[in-house]
């Protein structure tokens, strides 16, 4: 029996797990997929929003600003890439500038610090590639970028290092409340817990429904992206938003913490909660709009495109409430990534107010070794490590320069990578310009060796996604 079961291993569930792992509690995270951070947390803009977007007085606004202020320290502790690059909302006409003024005022009310309205010349000075038609901008120096999936992976890894458990391939399809205990089951497993946290993202209405709560509905809203080669990462240095219109926030252009350039997202409501396909219309819209905002974007340097699903709640605000020791953390659309550390604190408080004893654990370690620690070492330090363990001298991914040693570490470190995608999102092997063409055969072999299984059992992302299906007529070494 666990004190708390968290359903959903995204950045929200992950941050909550890490927060609860500070206390003398038994915590279990249940995740339907073969890895953590596969939902909205994997496919989003990775922006730490300053907090001028959300409507004054909402939970969203409050947790956004709080989360934004916490993010640097959280990322520092967890060794997650975080860059305080600042955000700009650019305007093209008087109407836009009025809107920008309104955002400025809203930001002040929400508690966003250092906001400034820039003139055309100030804007052009800090962003030379900005469209010549832009006439001014809202500048939020506290805006930042992070690696969203690394934040979730590191949060869950740190929670596990501090005692939390993770159950993958655990698709919750039944929740029973019997004798003050929740019985949570998948097709082939069951766990019991005194408290449940529903952080199931786009599926959180389904999970709430299993517990008898049908008070809200989640609509998936597609957001498509294109990611450009690292040679394009310098085209802008800030995150560039268009002034929001009736049609939404529009397409942003931003560097990523890895040095790529990200373009997106689109915004289209759909029905199918599993449909993360990109569309010709979506990709066309991105191509068209980014060129209106920023000049000199080499669209031919696309290395991949992808799509994320926002969990848009029916109430318009984050839905965080508790009933019978069952906490909903739902409708966590943007700025959910930013808010995640604040959401975690808030949820811990709610649990405490509902009789969960939060007793600090001695020996809680808030720190985790950075995921890319190897690349951060000096040459001397690297050579020392290679001498002790020669696999750090064997480069597997030529685009991102990832060594076999780092891949083995990802397979052995909480939360352990067990799939090709798992390795990719932890080490960046396969995330570069050749998109795994070169390294994936080696990654498959390393996984098989480490997991003591056949290469035929190695999958891209769990389930039936085996990379290889059979031996050739004369082949198959193992």
């Amino acid at each position: 029996m666990y004190d708390v079961a968290i359903i959903g291993a995204g950045v929200v569930g992950g941050q909550i797990a890490r927060e609860l792992s500070r206390y003398k509690l038994s915590v279990c995270i249940l995740e339907k997929e073969a890895d953590v951070a596969t939902g909205a947390t994997r496919a989003n803009s990775g922006i730490v929003h300053a907090g001028f977007d959300a409507k004054e007085g909402t939970l969203k606004a409050r947790l956004n600003v709080q989360g934004s202020k916490m993010m640097k320290e959280v990322c520092g502790d967890l060794g997650v890439p975080y860059i305080n690059n600042g955000s700009l909302v650019i305007g093209f006409g008087d109407k836009d500038m009025e809107q920008i003024k309104a955002l400025y005022n809203r930001g002040i009310v929400n508690g966003v610090e250092k906001l400034e309205i820039l003139s055309k010349s100030q804007l052009e000075r800090i962003e030379p590639n900005i469209s010549k038609n832009a006439i001014g901008a809202l500048f939020a120096p506290t805006g930042a970028i992070v690696s969203p999936y690394e934040l979730a992976i590191a949060s869950i890894g740190n929670a596990m290092d501090n005692g939390a458990e993770l159950k993958l391939n655990f698709k919750v399809n039944s929740i029973k409340f019997k004798g003050e205990v929740y019985h949570i089951s998948s097709d082939n497993e069951s766990v019991c817990a005194r408290y449940v946290v529903n952080a199931a993202g786009v599926h959180s209405d389904y999970i709430a429904g299993l517990a008898g709560d049908n008070s809200f509905k989640i609509t998936p809203r597609k957001g498509e992206y294109m990611l450009l080669d690292k040679v394009c990462g310098h085209i802008v240095s800030h995150t560039i938003f268009r002034t929001p219109s009736e049609k939404g926030k529009g397409i942003l252009v931003s560097p990523t913490v890895d040095g790529n350039l990200i373009l997106g997202p689109t915004s289209v409501d759909i029905d199918d909660k599993e449909d993360n396909s990109t569309t010709a219309e979506g990709l066309d819209r991105i191509r068209r709009e980014v060129c209106e905002n920023v000049e000199n974007i080499p669209l031919s340097k696309v290395i991949t495109s992808f799509c994320g699903l926002r969990a848009t709640g029916s109430t318009g605000d984050f839905i965080i409430d508790i009933k019978n020791r069952f906490v909903n953390v739902a409708g966590i659309e943007s700025p959910g990534l930013t808010a995640a550390p604040a959401i975690a604190k808030y949820v811990a408080q709610i649990l405490k107010n509902n009789s969960l004893e939060l007793q600090e654990k001695e020996g809680f370690n808030p720190k985790r070794r950075p995921m890319h620690y190897f690349s951060m070492l000096t040459t001397e330090e690297k050579n020392k490590l290679i001498k002790e363990n020669p696999s750090y001298g064997k480069i597997v991914c030529r685009c991102e320069m990832v060594s076999e040693g780092e891949i083995i570490d990802a397979i052995r470190t909480n939360p352990k990578a067990a799939t090709v995608d798992g390795v990719k999102f932890r080490t960046r092997s396969g995330a570069g310009r050749c998109q795994g063409g070169f390294c994936s055969p080696s990654v498959v072999e390393i996984l098989a060796r480490e997991l003591k299984t056949s290469v035929l059992d190695i999958t891209k992302s769990g389930g039936n996604t085996n990379i290889l299906i059979c031996k050739t007529k004369g082949g198959g070494l193992n």
């Binding site: 990709l283 290395i303 290679i386 063409g437 035929l456 290889l468 299906i469």
Partner: protein
């Protein structure tokens, strides 16, 4: 820091040939750095035949062709390091590399030959809409799985792009019992060699759908099929020609890109058409002492030409190290668009030179002219010119020496165009 006269980056056919040629031109302090576990480069996974027809008048497999050079490397005792990744080069020819045995180390060298080969254009670069299931691979990756590892990724195959690796893999997958449903090529002609279209597709009844492309990828976790469509003159898909083909594997053979990640920031001038460095008749780049040959310079269809080119680079690098410079001239070579590019792109010495070139389209009964100002100094008749097949024209020492206008241009005179 080690000191070596000549470092060759890449131990494929280009690197090996360059090493042997530099050695026989009098430089013995050579080091080949190869990231793979063996010499031979991509030839190791090219187990089909068709290599060496020009060089050895024999039809060899890739590994056999490579072995002819490996044997010589061993015999001449030319040093090489395997499993060694070069991570940086500087303009003053300092090389940083890493391997398990030595860790990260530096080498100062007098000359460098770039022979890193090329890589495949990836799925991402195509931006095909749809889902992201397992089952979409570049053809070379699957060639590695099948030929080197001995495993198949699927049984129902569609191939996008008619590059040579795609054509070869169509046959290979068929021989392994897979069903290749179609090869789609966006252009109205194949981008692979005619002999490969015949031997790998026609002989096995595999349809080649010219002017077709894949417009959507289907399947949530595993690939279930692709939608293909015909394209118009502007290469835009015509949506009412859409056709769904069920498959579990989509192979991409949509182009090769010279792999110049290492060399792009050292001040070398690049040719935007080839994607490789601009070189002179010695395959010397615009940074003196840095040479390039093989697929890192421009993508070849036949390895025999790679070996020829590497011999030139090896010989010239040896000359550079032994300070045997010729008369310095600078004659750039221009092309007219119908000729896509030439290699070399300029002359710095008056030597007899074979100019390699490719055309931009398919041309019948054309004449290739090399002009110096108004004067045609050399021409060659060609019955058929295909973009997939590299062509040559030879210029003599006198022709180059007597250039008056300061520049040469290579042009195509077309009688009939299709």
């Amino acid at each position: 820091m080690k000191n070596v006269d000549l470092v060759i980056i890449g131990g494929g056919p280009a690197g090996m040939s360059a090493a042997i040629s530099a050695f026989s031109s009098g430089v013995s302090d050579i080091l080949i750095l190869e990231r793979g576990g063996e010499l031979g480069g991509i030839l190791g996974q090219c187990i089909h035949n068709g290599f060496g027809l020009h060089k050895f008048k024999e039809e060899l497999t890739g590994p056999e062709y490579a072995w002819r050079y490996e044997e010589q490397i061993e015999m001449l005792k030319i040093p090489y390091m395997l499993n060694t990744m070069v991570t940086g080069i500087t303009k003053d020819k300092k090389i940083t590399a890493v391997n398990s045995a030595e860790g990260i180390f530096e080498i100062q060298t007098k000359a460098i030959i770039l022979a890193m080969g090329c890589r495949e254009r990836s799925k991402g670069a195509l931006n095909i809409p749809g889902s992201r299931p397992v089952g979409v691979y570049s053809a070379g990756t699957v060639q590695k799985y099948v030929n080197l590892k001995g495993y198949l990724p699927g049984r129902e195959v569609v191939i996008l792009g008619s590059g040579d690796i795609g054509l070869i893999m169509a046959r290979r997958m068929t021989l392994e019992g897979a069903k290749v449903r179609a090869v789609c090529e966006i252009m109205p002609y194949s981008s692979g060699l005619a002999r490969n279209v015949q031997q790998c597709l026609n002989d096995f009844g595999i349809p080649l759908k010219l002017s077709h492309t894949v417009v959507e990828i289907h399947g949530k976790s595993r690939l279930t099929g692709v939608t293909i469509a015909k394209v118009d003159e502007n290469l835009k898909p015509v949506m009412d020609t859409k056709e769904y083909i069920p498959c579990d594997t989509l192979l991409l053979s949509v182009g090769l890109i010279p792999e110049n990640d290492l060399s792009k920031d050292i001040g070398i001038e690049f040719d935007s058409v080839t994607g490789g460095p601009v070189v002179d008749q010695n395959r010397q780049t615009t940074v003196s002492g840095i040479f390039a040959c093989g697929n890192v310079l421009h993508v070849h269809d036949l390895v025999d030409y790679v070996s020829d080119e590497a011999e030139i680079a090896g010989r010239a690098a040896a000359g550079y190290i032994n300070q045997k410079a010729g008369t310095a001239i600078n004659i750039p070579i221009k092309t007219d668009g119908k000729i896509r590019y030439t290699v070399p792109q300029r002359f710095t010495e008056c030597n007899k030179t074979v100019l390699y070139f490719r055309t931009a389209g398919v041309y019948n009964n054309a004449v290739v002219n090399v002009r110096d100002g108004d004067k045609i100094i050399c021409s060659k008749k060609k019955r058929k010119l295909l973009p997939a097949e590299m062509e040559t024209i030879t210029l003599t020492e006198e022709m180059i020496c007597s250039v008056n206008s300061g520049c040469l241009s290579v042009e195509l005179e077309v009688a009939e165009n299709d």
